[in-house]
Symmetry: C2
Subunit: 267 residues, 2 copies
DNA sequence: CGACATTTTGACGCTGGTCAATATTGGTGG
DNA sequence: CCACCAATATTGACCAGCGTCAAAATGTCG
Protein backbone atom coordinates (compact mmCIF):
# COMPACT_ATOMS: atom_id res chain seq x y z
CA UNK A 1 0.00 0.00 0.00
CA UNK A 2 2.99 2.34 0.07
CA UNK A 3 2.99 4.88 -2.73
CA UNK A 4 6.58 4.55 -3.76
CA UNK A 5 8.42 7.80 -4.41
CA UNK A 6 5.27 9.86 -4.27
CA UNK A 7 5.18 12.14 -1.24
CA UNK A 8 2.11 12.19 0.95
CA UNK A 9 1.18 15.73 0.06
CA UNK A 10 -2.43 16.77 -0.25
CA UNK A 11 -1.92 17.92 -3.82
CA UNK A 12 -0.43 16.41 -6.95
CA UNK A 13 1.17 18.03 -9.97
CA UNK A 14 0.82 16.90 -13.56
CA UNK A 15 4.22 15.30 -13.23
CA UNK A 16 3.04 13.33 -10.21
CA UNK A 17 0.06 12.11 -12.16
CA UNK A 18 2.16 10.93 -15.07
CA UNK A 19 4.40 9.08 -12.64
CA UNK A 20 1.41 7.45 -11.03
CA UNK A 21 0.05 6.42 -14.41
CA UNK A 22 3.48 5.18 -15.44
CA UNK A 23 3.33 7.27 -18.59
CA UNK A 24 5.96 9.73 -19.86
CA UNK A 25 5.27 13.41 -19.17
CA UNK A 26 4.22 15.54 -22.12
CA UNK A 27 7.18 17.19 -23.80
CA UNK A 28 7.45 20.96 -23.38
CA UNK A 29 5.28 21.74 -20.45
CA UNK A 30 5.19 24.37 -17.76
CA UNK A 31 2.39 22.53 -16.08
CA UNK A 32 3.96 23.00 -12.70
CA UNK A 33 1.31 25.57 -11.85
CA UNK A 34 -1.55 23.13 -12.01
CA UNK A 35 -2.24 21.12 -8.89
CA UNK A 36 -4.92 18.59 -8.09
CA UNK A 37 -6.40 17.91 -4.70
CA UNK A 38 -6.66 14.51 -3.09
CA UNK A 39 -9.58 12.69 -1.61
CA UNK A 40 -9.79 9.86 0.87
CA UNK A 41 -12.45 7.17 0.76
CA UNK A 42 -12.98 4.77 3.62
CA UNK A 43 -13.35 1.07 2.95
CA UNK A 44 -16.87 0.27 1.84
CA UNK A 45 -17.77 3.79 0.75
CA UNK A 46 -18.52 4.88 -2.77
CA UNK A 47 -16.34 7.04 -4.95
CA UNK A 48 -19.01 7.51 -7.60
CA UNK A 49 -22.40 6.08 -8.47
CA UNK A 50 -24.05 4.88 -11.63
CA UNK A 51 -26.31 7.52 -13.13
CA UNK A 52 -24.71 10.40 -11.24
CA UNK A 53 -23.61 13.34 -13.40
CA UNK A 54 -19.97 13.28 -14.44
CA UNK A 55 -17.96 15.49 -12.11
CA UNK A 56 -14.41 14.26 -12.05
CA UNK A 57 -11.91 11.61 -13.04
CA UNK A 58 -9.85 9.94 -10.36
CA UNK A 59 -6.42 8.42 -10.24
CA UNK A 60 -5.83 5.97 -7.43
CA UNK A 61 -2.89 6.73 -5.14
CA UNK A 62 -3.34 3.89 -2.68
CA UNK A 63 -5.77 1.10 -1.85
CA UNK A 64 -8.11 -0.99 -3.97
CA UNK A 65 -11.51 -0.33 -5.47
CA UNK A 66 -14.15 -2.24 -7.35
CA UNK A 67 -16.10 -0.80 -10.27
CA UNK A 68 -19.34 -2.45 -11.31
CA UNK A 69 -22.55 -2.01 -13.26
CA UNK A 70 -25.98 -2.73 -11.92
CA UNK A 71 -28.20 -4.08 -14.65
CA UNK A 72 -31.97 -3.62 -14.70
CA UNK A 73 -32.50 -6.89 -12.83
CA UNK A 74 -30.44 -5.66 -9.89
CA UNK A 75 -27.48 -8.00 -10.16
CA UNK A 76 -24.09 -6.38 -10.46
CA UNK A 77 -21.31 -7.09 -12.93
CA UNK A 78 -17.81 -6.27 -11.75
CA UNK A 79 -15.75 -4.45 -14.36
CA UNK A 80 -12.38 -3.72 -12.77
CA UNK A 81 -10.43 -3.70 -9.54
CA UNK A 82 -8.54 -0.39 -9.81
CA UNK A 83 -5.35 -0.11 -7.76
CA UNK A 84 -2.65 2.54 -7.36
CA UNK A 85 -1.97 4.24 -10.68
CA UNK A 86 -5.24 3.24 -12.29
CA UNK A 87 -7.70 5.68 -13.77
CA UNK A 88 -11.25 5.58 -12.41
CA UNK A 89 -14.16 7.13 -14.27
CA UNK A 90 -12.67 6.91 -17.74
CA UNK A 91 -15.82 5.22 -18.96
CA UNK A 92 -17.89 8.29 -18.16
CA UNK A 93 -16.02 10.71 -20.41
CA UNK A 94 -17.97 9.83 -23.50
CA UNK A 95 -21.30 10.37 -21.77
CA UNK A 96 -22.91 12.79 -19.38
CA UNK A 97 -23.41 10.36 -16.53
CA UNK A 98 -21.41 7.65 -14.84
CA UNK A 99 -22.12 4.27 -16.44
CA UNK A 100 -20.65 2.48 -13.45
CA UNK A 101 -20.24 2.48 -9.68
CA UNK A 102 -16.97 2.56 -7.77
CA UNK A 103 -16.63 1.46 -4.15
CA UNK A 104 -13.53 1.26 -2.01
CA UNK A 105 -12.54 -2.27 -1.02
CA UNK A 106 -9.89 -0.90 1.34
CA UNK A 107 -9.18 2.60 2.57
CA UNK A 108 -8.32 4.54 -0.55
CA UNK A 109 -6.80 7.85 -1.56
CA UNK A 110 -7.26 9.32 -5.03
CA UNK A 111 -6.19 12.35 -7.02
CA UNK A 112 -9.22 14.30 -8.21
CA UNK A 113 -9.28 15.70 -11.74
CA UNK A 114 -12.42 17.84 -12.01
CA UNK A 115 -14.18 17.39 -15.31
CA UNK A 116 -14.53 21.15 -15.73
CA UNK A 117 -10.81 21.70 -15.53
CA UNK A 118 -10.09 19.34 -18.42
CA UNK A 119 -10.87 22.00 -21.02
CA UNK A 120 -8.73 24.56 -19.19
CA UNK A 121 -5.92 22.05 -18.95
CA UNK A 122 -5.79 21.77 -22.71
CA UNK A 123 -4.62 25.36 -22.80
CA UNK A 124 -2.45 25.40 -19.70
CA UNK A 125 -0.74 22.12 -20.31
CA UNK A 126 -0.63 21.05 -23.92
CA UNK A 127 -1.20 17.43 -24.65
CA UNK A 128 -2.15 16.52 -21.13
CA UNK A 129 -5.27 15.18 -22.80
CA UNK A 130 -3.03 12.91 -24.77
CA UNK A 131 -1.78 11.38 -21.55
CA UNK A 132 -5.39 10.75 -20.62
CA UNK A 133 -6.07 9.23 -24.01
CA UNK A 134 -3.25 6.81 -23.48
CA UNK A 135 -4.45 5.88 -20.03
CA UNK A 136 -7.96 5.20 -21.34
CA UNK A 137 -6.51 3.30 -24.25
CA UNK A 138 -4.73 1.04 -21.80
CA UNK A 139 -7.95 0.44 -19.94
CA UNK A 140 -9.53 -0.52 -23.23
CA UNK A 141 -6.81 -3.04 -23.98
CA UNK A 142 -7.10 -4.48 -20.51
CA UNK A 143 -10.80 -4.92 -21.06
CA UNK A 144 -10.19 -6.61 -24.40
CA UNK A 145 -7.66 -8.95 -22.88
CA UNK A 146 -10.18 -9.91 -20.27
CA UNK A 147 -12.80 -10.68 -22.89
CA UNK A 148 -10.28 -12.82 -24.68
CA UNK A 149 -9.61 -14.98 -21.66
CA UNK A 150 -13.23 -15.04 -20.49
CA UNK A 151 -14.29 -16.18 -23.93
CA UNK A 152 -11.84 -18.97 -24.46
CA UNK A 153 -10.44 -20.32 -21.21
CA UNK A 154 -11.74 -22.85 -18.72
CA UNK A 155 -12.88 -21.72 -15.30
CA UNK A 156 -9.70 -22.94 -13.65
CA UNK A 157 -7.53 -21.20 -16.22
CA UNK A 158 -9.41 -17.94 -15.78
CA UNK A 159 -8.89 -17.99 -12.03
CA UNK A 160 -5.24 -18.88 -12.54
CA UNK A 161 -4.71 -15.98 -14.87
CA UNK A 162 -6.55 -13.70 -12.51
CA UNK A 163 -4.20 -14.57 -9.67
CA UNK A 164 -1.09 -14.27 -11.84
CA UNK A 165 -2.29 -10.95 -13.17
CA UNK A 166 -2.98 -9.66 -9.69
CA UNK A 167 0.50 -10.65 -8.57
CA UNK A 168 1.99 -8.96 -11.62
CA UNK A 169 0.15 -5.75 -10.87
CA UNK A 170 1.50 -5.80 -7.34
CA UNK A 171 4.99 -6.21 -8.74
CA UNK A 172 4.48 -3.30 -11.11
CA UNK A 173 3.74 -1.26 -8.01
CA UNK A 174 6.89 -2.38 -6.23
CA UNK A 175 5.47 -5.09 -4.01
CA UNK A 176 6.56 -8.66 -3.68
CA UNK A 177 3.89 -10.50 -5.61
CA UNK A 178 4.67 -13.94 -4.28
CA UNK A 179 2.15 -13.48 -1.51
CA UNK A 180 -1.04 -11.54 -1.94
CA UNK A 181 -4.07 -10.61 0.07
CA UNK A 182 -7.14 -10.33 -2.10
CA UNK A 183 -9.25 -7.28 -1.28
CA UNK A 184 -12.37 -8.67 -2.95
CA UNK A 185 -14.82 -11.49 -2.23
CA UNK A 186 -15.11 -14.69 -4.23
CA UNK A 187 -18.40 -13.41 -5.53
CA UNK A 188 -16.64 -10.37 -7.03
CA UNK A 189 -14.00 -12.52 -8.67
CA UNK A 190 -16.72 -14.65 -10.15
CA UNK A 191 -18.61 -11.70 -11.54
CA UNK A 192 -15.37 -10.29 -12.92
CA UNK A 193 -14.50 -13.53 -14.69
CA UNK A 194 -17.99 -14.54 -15.72
CA UNK A 195 -18.23 -17.42 -13.23
CA UNK A 196 -20.26 -18.31 -10.15
CA UNK A 197 -18.95 -18.17 -6.58
CA UNK A 198 -18.93 -21.91 -6.29
CA UNK A 199 -16.90 -22.37 -9.45
CA UNK A 200 -14.32 -19.83 -8.27
CA UNK A 201 -14.05 -21.58 -4.96
CA UNK A 202 -13.66 -24.96 -6.62
CA UNK A 203 -11.06 -23.61 -9.02
CA UNK A 204 -9.04 -22.20 -6.14
CA UNK A 205 -9.23 -25.51 -4.32
CA UNK A 206 -8.08 -27.31 -7.45
CA UNK A 207 -5.15 -24.94 -7.93
CA UNK A 208 -4.31 -25.41 -4.28
CA UNK A 209 -4.41 -29.20 -4.52
CA UNK A 210 -2.29 -29.07 -7.65
CA UNK A 211 0.31 -27.15 -5.66
CA UNK A 212 0.29 -24.07 -7.86
CA UNK A 213 -0.90 -21.80 -5.05
CA UNK A 214 -1.54 -21.99 -1.33
CA UNK A 215 -4.96 -20.62 -0.56
CA UNK A 216 -6.07 -19.59 2.88
CA UNK A 217 -9.21 -17.53 2.54
CA UNK A 218 -8.06 -14.27 1.02
CA UNK A 219 -4.38 -14.91 1.57
CA UNK A 220 -2.80 -16.45 -1.48
CA UNK A 221 0.76 -17.63 -1.92
CA UNK A 222 1.88 -18.05 -5.50
CA UNK A 223 3.92 -21.22 -5.79
CA UNK A 224 4.16 -21.76 -9.56
CA UNK A 225 3.18 -18.75 -11.62
CA UNK A 226 4.21 -20.48 -14.84
CA UNK A 227 1.67 -23.18 -14.23
CA UNK A 228 -1.07 -20.66 -13.47
CA UNK A 229 -0.60 -19.14 -16.90
CA UNK A 230 -0.26 -22.44 -18.73
CA UNK A 231 -3.58 -23.95 -17.71
CA UNK A 232 -5.49 -25.65 -20.52
CA UNK A 233 -8.02 -23.83 -22.65
CA UNK A 234 -10.78 -26.34 -22.46
CA UNK A 235 -9.94 -29.87 -21.52
CA UNK A 236 -7.86 -32.91 -22.33
CA UNK A 237 -4.71 -31.84 -24.19
CA UNK A 238 -1.45 -30.42 -22.93
CA UNK A 239 -1.02 -26.82 -21.85
CA UNK A 240 -0.39 -25.41 -25.28
CA UNK A 241 0.36 -26.28 -28.88
CA UNK A 242 4.08 -25.95 -28.27
CA UNK A 243 6.02 -27.32 -25.29
CA UNK A 244 5.90 -31.00 -26.26
CA UNK A 245 6.39 -32.48 -22.79
CA UNK A 246 6.07 -31.57 -19.16
CA UNK A 247 4.28 -28.43 -18.13
CA UNK A 248 5.95 -25.49 -19.89
CA UNK A 249 9.25 -26.64 -18.56
CA UNK A 250 9.84 -25.04 -15.17
CA UNK A 251 12.11 -22.04 -15.31
CA UNK A 252 11.71 -21.34 -18.99
CA UNK A 253 13.26 -18.08 -20.16
CA UNK A 254 10.03 -16.12 -20.09
CA UNK A 255 8.79 -14.67 -16.82
CA UNK A 256 5.92 -12.25 -16.69
CA UNK A 257 5.36 -11.94 -20.39
CA UNK A 258 2.21 -13.89 -20.74
CA UNK A 259 -0.45 -11.35 -19.91
CA UNK A 260 1.76 -8.68 -21.42
CA UNK A 261 1.77 -10.62 -24.66
CA UNK A 262 -1.94 -10.23 -24.75
CA UNK A 263 -1.61 -6.54 -23.99
CA UNK A 264 1.03 -6.22 -26.68
CA UNK A 265 4.21 -4.95 -25.01
CA UNK A 266 3.80 -2.06 -22.60
CA UNK A 267 5.21 1.34 -23.46
CA UNK B 1 -23.46 2.54 -47.13
CA UNK B 2 -24.24 6.16 -47.97
CA UNK B 3 -22.29 8.61 -45.81
CA UNK B 4 -25.15 10.89 -44.96
CA UNK B 5 -24.41 14.61 -45.16
CA UNK B 6 -20.69 14.05 -45.47
CA UNK B 7 -19.41 14.99 -48.92
CA UNK B 8 -17.25 12.57 -50.80
CA UNK B 9 -14.17 14.74 -50.65
CA UNK B 10 -10.74 13.26 -50.32
CA UNK B 11 -10.06 15.21 -47.16
CA UNK B 12 -11.91 15.78 -43.90
CA UNK B 13 -11.82 18.69 -41.48
CA UNK B 14 -11.97 18.44 -37.71
CA UNK B 15 -15.63 19.37 -37.94
CA UNK B 16 -16.24 16.49 -40.34
CA UNK B 17 -14.58 14.13 -37.92
CA UNK B 18 -16.69 15.26 -35.01
CA UNK B 19 -19.79 14.82 -37.13
CA UNK B 20 -18.68 11.31 -38.07
CA UNK B 21 -18.02 10.44 -34.43
CA UNK B 22 -21.35 11.98 -33.44
CA UNK B 23 -19.61 14.13 -30.84
CA UNK B 24 -19.93 17.92 -30.41
CA UNK B 25 -17.10 20.01 -31.84
CA UNK B 26 -14.70 21.55 -29.36
CA UNK B 27 -15.75 25.05 -28.33
CA UNK B 28 -13.60 27.88 -29.59
CA UNK B 29 -11.70 26.37 -32.47
CA UNK B 30 -10.18 27.68 -35.64
CA UNK B 31 -9.34 24.16 -36.64
CA UNK B 32 -10.52 24.76 -40.17
CA UNK B 33 -6.91 24.73 -41.34
CA UNK B 34 -6.31 21.13 -40.42
CA UNK B 35 -7.33 18.53 -42.95
CA UNK B 36 -6.98 14.76 -42.92
CA UNK B 37 -6.58 12.55 -45.93
CA UNK B 38 -8.67 9.51 -46.71
CA UNK B 39 -7.74 5.97 -47.47
CA UNK B 40 -9.62 3.20 -49.22
CA UNK B 41 -9.28 -0.45 -48.27
CA UNK B 42 -10.64 -3.21 -50.47
CA UNK B 43 -12.68 -5.98 -48.93
CA UNK B 44 -10.42 -8.59 -47.40
CA UNK B 45 -7.38 -6.32 -47.07
CA UNK B 46 -5.80 -5.20 -43.83
CA UNK B 47 -5.92 -1.72 -42.39
CA UNK B 48 -3.37 -2.50 -39.69
CA UNK B 49 -1.61 -5.51 -38.23
CA UNK B 50 -0.86 -6.73 -34.76
CA UNK B 51 2.68 -5.89 -33.71
CA UNK B 52 3.16 -3.20 -36.33
CA UNK B 53 4.38 0.15 -35.00
CA UNK B 54 1.65 2.67 -34.28
CA UNK B 55 1.34 5.05 -37.22
CA UNK B 56 -2.17 6.40 -37.29
CA UNK B 57 -5.68 6.30 -35.94
CA UNK B 58 -8.55 5.78 -38.33
CA UNK B 59 -12.17 6.84 -38.40
CA UNK B 60 -14.43 4.77 -40.62
CA UNK B 61 -16.36 6.69 -43.26
CA UNK B 62 -18.06 3.75 -44.97
CA UNK B 63 -18.07 -0.02 -44.93
CA UNK B 64 -17.42 -2.59 -42.20
CA UNK B 65 -14.27 -3.94 -40.61
CA UNK B 66 -13.33 -6.58 -38.13
CA UNK B 67 -10.68 -6.10 -35.45
CA UNK B 68 -9.19 -9.15 -33.79
CA UNK B 69 -6.29 -10.43 -31.73
CA UNK B 70 -4.23 -13.48 -32.58
CA UNK B 71 -3.17 -15.28 -29.44
CA UNK B 72 -0.01 -17.36 -29.19
CA UNK B 73 -1.88 -20.51 -30.21
CA UNK B 74 -2.89 -18.95 -33.52
CA UNK B 75 -6.62 -18.70 -32.95
CA UNK B 76 -8.14 -15.28 -33.32
CA UNK B 77 -10.52 -13.45 -31.00
CA UNK B 78 -12.76 -10.88 -32.63
CA UNK B 79 -12.95 -7.64 -30.68
CA UNK B 80 -15.19 -5.30 -32.68
CA UNK B 81 -16.93 -4.77 -35.98
CA UNK B 82 -16.22 -1.08 -36.63
CA UNK B 83 -18.66 0.71 -38.95
CA UNK B 84 -19.06 4.28 -40.17
CA UNK B 85 -18.21 6.73 -37.39
CA UNK B 86 -16.20 4.27 -35.33
CA UNK B 87 -12.64 4.81 -34.24
CA UNK B 88 -10.12 2.16 -35.24
CA UNK B 89 -6.75 1.85 -33.55
CA UNK B 90 -7.71 3.44 -30.25
CA UNK B 91 -6.29 0.46 -28.42
CA UNK B 92 -2.82 1.20 -29.73
CA UNK B 93 -2.49 4.68 -28.24
CA UNK B 94 -1.33 3.47 -24.87
CA UNK B 95 1.42 1.34 -26.38
CA UNK B 96 4.00 1.53 -29.11
CA UNK B 97 2.59 -1.19 -31.29
CA UNK B 98 -0.83 -2.28 -32.49
CA UNK B 99 -2.31 -4.85 -30.12
CA UNK B 100 -4.85 -5.90 -32.73
CA UNK B 101 -5.45 -6.47 -36.42
CA UNK B 102 -8.07 -4.78 -38.56
CA UNK B 103 -9.33 -6.20 -41.86
CA UNK B 104 -12.01 -4.85 -44.16
CA UNK B 105 -15.11 -7.03 -44.40
CA UNK B 106 -16.45 -4.86 -47.23
CA UNK B 107 -14.87 -2.13 -49.26
CA UNK B 108 -14.01 0.55 -46.75
CA UNK B 109 -12.97 4.20 -46.66
CA UNK B 110 -11.39 5.76 -43.58
CA UNK B 111 -10.09 9.14 -42.43
CA UNK B 112 -6.43 8.89 -41.47
CA UNK B 113 -5.19 10.69 -38.36
CA UNK B 114 -1.40 10.31 -38.31
CA UNK B 115 -0.05 9.60 -34.87
CA UNK B 116 2.65 12.22 -35.29
CA UNK B 117 0.16 14.96 -35.91
CA UNK B 118 -1.64 14.35 -32.65
CA UNK B 119 0.87 16.38 -30.64
CA UNK B 120 0.75 19.20 -33.18
CA UNK B 121 -3.03 19.14 -33.08
CA UNK B 122 -3.01 19.87 -29.37
CA UNK B 123 -1.60 23.28 -30.20
CA UNK B 124 -3.50 24.00 -33.39
CA UNK B 125 -6.85 22.83 -32.19
CA UNK B 126 -7.31 22.93 -28.45
CA UNK B 127 -9.15 20.06 -26.89
CA UNK B 128 -9.30 17.99 -30.03
CA UNK B 129 -7.62 15.39 -27.86
CA UNK B 130 -10.63 15.60 -25.61
CA UNK B 131 -12.84 14.55 -28.49
CA UNK B 132 -10.56 11.57 -28.95
CA UNK B 133 -10.73 10.78 -25.26
CA UNK B 134 -14.48 10.70 -25.44
CA UNK B 135 -14.45 8.46 -28.49
CA UNK B 136 -12.10 6.03 -26.78
CA UNK B 137 -14.17 6.21 -23.64
CA UNK B 138 -17.19 5.13 -25.65
CA UNK B 139 -15.29 2.21 -27.05
CA UNK B 140 -14.40 1.24 -23.51
CA UNK B 141 -18.03 1.31 -22.42
CA UNK B 142 -19.04 -0.71 -25.45
CA UNK B 143 -16.45 -3.28 -24.49
CA UNK B 144 -17.71 -3.38 -20.92
CA UNK B 145 -21.28 -3.81 -22.07
CA UNK B 146 -20.19 -6.72 -24.17
CA UNK B 147 -18.48 -8.38 -21.25
CA UNK B 148 -21.62 -7.93 -19.21
CA UNK B 149 -23.77 -9.78 -21.72
CA UNK B 150 -21.14 -12.39 -22.52
CA UNK B 151 -20.78 -13.12 -18.84
CA UNK B 152 -24.40 -13.47 -17.90
CA UNK B 153 -26.60 -14.31 -20.88
CA UNK B 154 -27.45 -17.57 -22.60
CA UNK B 155 -26.13 -18.25 -26.08
CA UNK B 156 -29.47 -17.50 -27.66
CA UNK B 157 -29.81 -14.23 -25.75
CA UNK B 158 -26.31 -13.16 -26.78
CA UNK B 159 -27.05 -13.72 -30.43
CA UNK B 160 -30.38 -11.93 -30.05
CA UNK B 161 -28.72 -8.91 -28.49
CA UNK B 162 -26.05 -8.97 -31.16
CA UNK B 163 -28.65 -8.75 -33.91
CA UNK B 164 -30.65 -6.05 -32.14
CA UNK B 165 -27.50 -4.07 -31.49
CA UNK B 166 -26.42 -4.37 -35.11
CA UNK B 167 -29.83 -3.13 -36.25
CA UNK B 168 -29.62 -0.23 -33.83
CA UNK B 169 -26.21 0.76 -35.11
CA UNK B 170 -27.59 0.80 -38.65
CA UNK B 171 -30.40 3.05 -37.48
CA UNK B 172 -27.95 5.41 -35.80
CA UNK B 173 -26.35 5.73 -39.21
CA UNK B 174 -29.61 6.52 -40.94
CA UNK B 175 -30.45 3.10 -42.36
CA UNK B 176 -33.60 1.10 -41.95
CA UNK B 177 -32.54 -1.52 -39.46
CA UNK B 178 -35.46 -3.86 -40.03
CA UNK B 179 -33.48 -5.76 -42.61
CA UNK B 180 -29.77 -6.29 -42.38
CA UNK B 181 -27.02 -8.01 -44.27
CA UNK B 182 -24.30 -9.24 -41.97
CA UNK B 183 -20.82 -8.55 -43.29
CA UNK B 184 -19.17 -11.19 -41.08
CA UNK B 185 -19.14 -14.99 -40.93
CA UNK B 186 -20.83 -17.05 -38.24
CA UNK B 187 -17.39 -17.91 -36.98
CA UNK B 188 -16.67 -14.22 -36.37
CA UNK B 189 -19.94 -13.73 -34.51
CA UNK B 190 -19.09 -16.70 -32.36
CA UNK B 191 -15.65 -15.41 -31.52
CA UNK B 192 -17.11 -12.00 -30.78
CA UNK B 193 -19.69 -13.42 -28.38
CA UNK B 194 -17.59 -16.17 -26.87
CA UNK B 195 -19.45 -19.00 -28.62
CA UNK B 196 -18.71 -21.66 -31.23
CA UNK B 197 -19.92 -21.53 -34.82
CA UNK B 198 -22.36 -24.35 -34.24
CA UNK B 199 -23.94 -22.64 -31.27
CA UNK B 200 -24.38 -19.41 -33.21
CA UNK B 201 -25.99 -21.29 -36.05
CA UNK B 202 -28.31 -23.14 -33.67
CA UNK B 203 -29.24 -19.93 -31.90
CA UNK B 204 -30.10 -18.27 -35.19
CA UNK B 205 -32.22 -21.24 -36.19
CA UNK B 206 -34.01 -21.10 -32.84
CA UNK B 207 -34.70 -17.38 -33.16
CA UNK B 208 -35.93 -18.03 -36.67
CA UNK B 209 -38.27 -20.81 -35.57
CA UNK B 210 -39.56 -18.64 -32.74
CA UNK B 211 -40.47 -16.04 -35.33
CA UNK B 212 -38.30 -13.30 -33.89
CA UNK B 213 -36.18 -13.02 -37.03
CA UNK B 214 -36.11 -14.41 -40.54
CA UNK B 215 -32.68 -15.78 -41.31
CA UNK B 216 -31.42 -16.51 -44.77
CA UNK B 217 -27.71 -16.92 -44.65
CA UNK B 218 -26.36 -13.44 -44.01
CA UNK B 219 -29.63 -11.68 -44.72
CA UNK B 220 -31.58 -11.13 -41.55
CA UNK B 221 -35.03 -9.61 -41.16
CA UNK B 222 -35.86 -8.38 -37.67
CA UNK B 223 -39.43 -9.34 -36.86
CA UNK B 224 -39.62 -8.73 -33.10
CA UNK B 225 -36.80 -6.67 -31.69
CA UNK B 226 -38.43 -6.54 -28.26
CA UNK B 227 -38.26 -10.30 -28.03
CA UNK B 228 -34.62 -10.36 -29.09
CA UNK B 229 -33.73 -8.15 -26.16
CA UNK B 230 -35.93 -9.95 -23.65
CA UNK B 231 -34.43 -13.40 -24.02
CA UNK B 232 -33.80 -15.23 -20.74
CA UNK B 233 -30.51 -15.03 -18.89
CA UNK B 234 -29.95 -18.70 -18.28
CA UNK B 235 -32.89 -21.05 -18.34
CA UNK B 236 -36.28 -21.84 -16.90
CA UNK B 237 -37.93 -18.62 -15.67
CA UNK B 238 -39.68 -15.85 -17.56
CA UNK B 239 -37.86 -13.20 -19.55
CA UNK B 240 -37.14 -10.93 -16.60
CA UNK B 241 -38.01 -10.26 -13.01
CA UNK B 242 -40.76 -7.85 -14.02
CA UNK B 243 -43.34 -8.29 -16.79
CA UNK B 244 -45.52 -10.88 -15.06
CA UNK B 245 -47.10 -12.44 -18.14
CA UNK B 246 -46.55 -12.76 -21.87
CA UNK B 247 -43.29 -11.76 -23.42
CA UNK B 248 -42.57 -8.14 -22.47
CA UNK B 249 -45.87 -7.15 -23.96
CA UNK B 250 -45.47 -6.38 -27.66
CA UNK B 251 -45.35 -2.71 -28.49
CA UNK B 252 -44.30 -1.54 -25.04
CA UNK B 253 -43.34 2.16 -24.81
CA UNK B 254 -39.62 1.53 -24.93
CA UNK B 255 -37.95 1.12 -28.27
CA UNK B 256 -34.19 1.10 -28.64
CA UNK B 257 -33.35 1.83 -25.03
CA UNK B 258 -32.19 -1.54 -23.98
CA UNK B 259 -28.59 -1.58 -25.05
CA UNK B 260 -28.40 2.13 -24.35
CA UNK B 261 -29.42 1.43 -20.78
CA UNK B 262 -26.34 -0.65 -20.46
CA UNK B 263 -24.27 2.07 -22.04
CA UNK B 264 -25.84 4.62 -19.73
CA UNK B 265 -27.54 7.25 -21.93
CA UNK B 266 -25.57 8.62 -24.85
CA UNK B 267 -24.37 12.21 -24.84
C1' DC C 1 -21.10 -16.24 22.69
C1' DG C 2 -24.69 -15.75 19.07
C1' DA C 3 -26.21 -13.83 14.48
C1' DC C 4 -24.66 -13.21 10.09
C1' DA C 5 -21.61 -13.17 6.03
C1' DT C 6 -18.42 -15.59 3.41
C1' DT C 7 -16.40 -19.77 1.84
C1' DT C 8 -16.30 -24.58 0.88
C1' DT C 9 -18.02 -29.04 -0.57
C1' DG C 10 -21.42 -32.28 -2.61
C1' DA C 11 -25.01 -34.04 -5.97
C1' DC C 12 -27.40 -33.36 -10.19
C1' DG C 13 -28.91 -31.55 -14.70
C1' DC C 14 -28.68 -28.46 -18.58
C1' DT C 15 -26.28 -25.58 -21.69
C1' DG C 16 -23.13 -25.46 -24.90
C1' DG C 17 -18.58 -27.48 -26.64
C1' DT C 18 -16.82 -31.30 -29.47
C1' DC C 19 -16.86 -34.44 -33.27
C1' DA C 20 -18.90 -35.75 -37.48
C1' DA C 21 -21.75 -35.62 -41.50
C1' DT C 22 -24.54 -33.15 -44.79
C1' DA C 23 -26.34 -29.08 -47.28
C1' DT C 24 -25.81 -24.81 -49.50
C1' DT C 25 -23.24 -21.13 -51.56
C1' DG C 26 -19.84 -18.92 -54.41
C1' DG C 27 -16.14 -19.06 -57.51
C1' DT C 28 -13.47 -21.09 -61.40
C1' DG C 29 -12.67 -23.36 -65.49
C1' DG C 30 -14.07 -26.53 -69.12
C1' DC D 1 -24.29 -23.55 -68.99
C1' DC D 2 -22.82 -26.98 -66.09
C1' DA D 3 -19.31 -29.71 -63.51
C1' DC D 4 -16.22 -29.23 -59.82
C1' DC D 5 -14.23 -27.52 -55.68
C1' DA D 6 -13.46 -24.90 -51.49
C1' DA D 7 -15.60 -22.22 -48.05
C1' DT D 8 -19.43 -21.55 -45.29
C1' DA D 9 -23.61 -23.01 -42.90
C1' DT D 10 -26.67 -26.24 -40.86
C1' DT D 11 -27.98 -30.28 -38.23
C1' DG D 12 -27.38 -34.33 -35.19
C1' DA D 13 -25.42 -37.19 -31.33
C1' DC D 14 -22.73 -37.27 -27.32
C1' DC D 15 -20.87 -35.77 -22.99
C1' DA D 16 -18.42 -32.77 -19.80
C1' DG D 17 -17.91 -28.37 -17.67
C1' DC D 18 -20.14 -25.39 -15.04
C1' DG D 19 -24.52 -23.49 -13.17
C1' DT D 20 -28.02 -24.60 -9.80
C1' DC D 21 -29.69 -26.08 -5.41
C1' DA D 22 -28.60 -27.47 -0.82
C1' DA D 23 -26.00 -27.88 3.32
C1' DA D 24 -22.08 -27.64 6.17
C1' DA D 25 -17.88 -25.26 7.71
C1' DT D 26 -15.41 -21.37 8.81
C1' DG D 27 -14.77 -16.58 9.67
C1' DT D 28 -16.41 -11.87 11.26
C1' DC D 29 -18.61 -8.62 14.14
C1' DG D 30 -21.54 -6.92 17.76
Amino acid sequence: MKTTAIPATVQSSVADICRLLRLPEPAGARCARVAFTHRAVKSGNRLCSQGAPLEALYIVRSGFLKTFIDDDAGNETVMEFPAAGDLVGADSLGYQVHPSNAVALTDVTVVVIPYQSLAKLSRLCESFDLVLCRAISRALVEEQALRTIAGSLSAEARVGRFLARFAQRLRERGEDGSHLRLPMKRQDIGSYLGLTVETVSRALSALHDAGHVAVSLRDIAIRDEEALLALPKRAGGASDCETPAGRTGRGAPRRNLTWSDMLGAAA
